[in-house]
Amino acid sequence: MIYEAFVALLGLMAIASGLAIFLLKDVLHSVLALVALFLSSSALLIMLGQPLLAIVQLFIMVGGISTFVFAGVASAPKSEFAHVEWSTLIAVAALLFLSAGAALMSIPGGNGSNVLTRFTLSGSFNGHIAELYVILLGLLGVAIGGIALLRQIGRKGVAA
């Protein structure tokens, strides 16, 4: 019971951090809220009994992505327009959460299970490791190219 309560608390912290991203007016503060979201999801991975995944999540998402985005928007001016249309945000989020979540969790699967607990993985990723590595190498190339482009912009700009 106490473990479920703690997981629920961490989940609420993650959702609150996600909402804070849209509520905060300064983009830099929103990035800090994003860091809090990644920390909460890392803690959720620990509660799932996956400490290695939690550490990797910290390294990649907090140490890598968040630092990069923080440095990238550090010089951002204060924007003069609202960052998000709240009516659209609430409507789409409610529609997705209630329809997808409730539908998936409520479809009976026999013996008290639902459609998610009936789901079984018949294949494995072992046969597709090569394709995954190709995809990852391509994504790495995009990332390196983006950083090189950023350096070029910083050095001498791009001709209009």
């Binding site: 989940g11 799932l48 983006g146």
Partner: protein, 101 residues
């Protein structure tokens, strides 16, 4: 002792719904990026909980793919942001007009 799967799945659904809604509703280009990161975080939690409670040992390739996608789009979005700020472009995506020659 591990909490039941339902709590993790509801949290992941909420994060994913918030992320997708943010992509649809955001007007600032960086907000769109961070909404995608929220959705991907929800996907990571959902994948980890499914593999933990249902089974399977091949979680790492899937999670590394998700993390690689998140990192790559963060790099691309920040590059676009820096380019736009250097050329004093408007960050309000609702005001984007035709690309000038």
């Amino acid at each position: 002792m591990i909490a039941s799967m339902d709590v993790f799945m509801w949290v992941s659904f909420a994060l994913f719904a918030l992320g997708v809604a943010g992509i649809a509703a955001s007007r600032h280009i960086i907000m769109t990026l961070m909404s995608a990161e929220i959705a991907l975080s929800g996907a990571v939690v959902a994948a980890a909980s499914i593999f933990r409670f249902i089974g399977g040992n091949e979680i790492l390739p899937l999670l590394f793919t998700i993390w690689a996608i998140a990192a790559t789009e963060a790099v691309a979005a920040v590059v676009f942001y820096r380019y736009m700020s250097k050329h004093e472009a408007d960050f309000d995506v609702s005001r984007l007009s035709k690309t000038k020659e």
